[in-house]
Symmetry: C2
Subunit: 267 residues, 2 copies
Amino acid sequence: MGNFQEATALTRGPGADVFTVDLDPQWTVGGRMHGGYLLAAMARAATEVGPHAHPHAVSASFAVPPQAGPAQVSVEVLRAGNGLTQSRVRLDQDGTPCAEALLTLGPLADDEPYWSGVTPADLPPEHECVRVPAEAPGAGFRVDLMDVVEQRLDPRPLGFLGGTPSRRGEISGWQRLADGSDWDPLSLLVALDPVPPVSYDLGIPGWAPTLQFSAYLRRPPAPGPVRVRMRAGVVAGDRMDEIAEAWDSKDRLVAQATQLAGVRLPA
Amino acid sequence: MGNFQEATALTRGPGADVFTVDLDPQWTVGGRMHGGYLLAAMARAATEVGPHAHPHAVSASFAVPPQAGPAQVSVEVLRAGNGLTQSRVRLDQDGTPCAEALLTLGPLADDEPYWSGVTPADLPPEHECVRVPAEAPGAGFRVDLMDVVEQRLDPRPLGFLGGTPSRRGEISGWQRLADGSDWDPLSLLVALDPVPPVSYDLGIPGWAPTLQFSAYLRRPPAPGPVRVRMRAGVVAGDRMDEIAEAWDSKDRLVAQATQLAGVRLPA
């Protein structure tokens, strides 16, 4: 159960460039399908239509949360050729549009960076970090995702667990797929949308539903865990932007994401 | 000529939720329509369908560059209600899909931030910055956009003009609309996609076409100029990510953007 490949497996039809995915209840947070998991299934559909196996960029809107169970994933290619493919993917359930994504796909080079302005996440070794259980104390709901993604958080900014958030606006952790498989450019979309939301570290309780999400996949990840740092940008007017970055076990930046999420600010 | 409202004016039809825009050759860079300008016209169409006047988030794929002249802009609402609208907008020209965008729209609050982790752009006063002419020396092509957007760049990192880029990966400047109108959440989409690309400051010549672009509009901007800072993230494998942030004349962050662009690295 909870195998990533099986959980994002697609069957063809009904129709051309349409697929069916059986959304797996293991990949949920408080009963809601995890956004990164949905995107991974949608991106897989895009790789099935056209010659390119790897997404470079994925931008998505989350409209209506789907339930576990069958959903339709439809792909339209906007532009093919010139070494890349650009597609739109839509996830519908029972005729309701749940999410749409725009993708740029191509061959994913493993070149060393020409230049980087990004500082790697500073994180204690994996064994010194704190495993997040599916039944997190005080969460008030079950995070089934934590049974399929083994996440160990940097304990230093976890004061929010005891009611004293650090207010640095940053939560970092190690992540592995619990099925023992290595990360790939599709499953990294799961890693880039970690729980809990970084708003917990800012003293903002409650869920932070993703409105829009954009990810860039930069290199194929090396085997082993990834470490993901999530930082808040600006929290204002019931909106928060968050930036996530993922480094692989060889300490290379492999993926980046940003999202705009809804928050309910304390009165 | 070059008035932003006129250049993004829409006429209804042909069909429901379809508009025609007459793409204005003033809003071009080297003969190509500017991406932020295209997005502004697309976002305007989204505001015409549904009750919400302001985009909160805009994510777009640029597939095929359109030419100046008529183009069709089609809106599909994915979800309406709950204080926000989520839509997809497509720009077609002569039956070819040129760009698609996913938008979240709603009322744009003017609340002070609850928390911010973003450092304001450090920029000399506007009169000490350098106006970018449409006929930039050595550019090799005409940037008509610079006749409709008055941009004054921080002179400190402009060594690339003389062949000695600073390699800090950052270019900042003041921007005003040359028609004298104030910035609004739609025209800010133009400001968030400044020229030249920040790759110039990294010693990478040539154009950097945007593949995907995402913007968040955070507050209605105050009257007066905005200052925009653009920073490179990682440049690797012919891809560069860039982050742009815009502050208004009251020194408030009003908009943010990220893009993945193509670059051709020096051999």
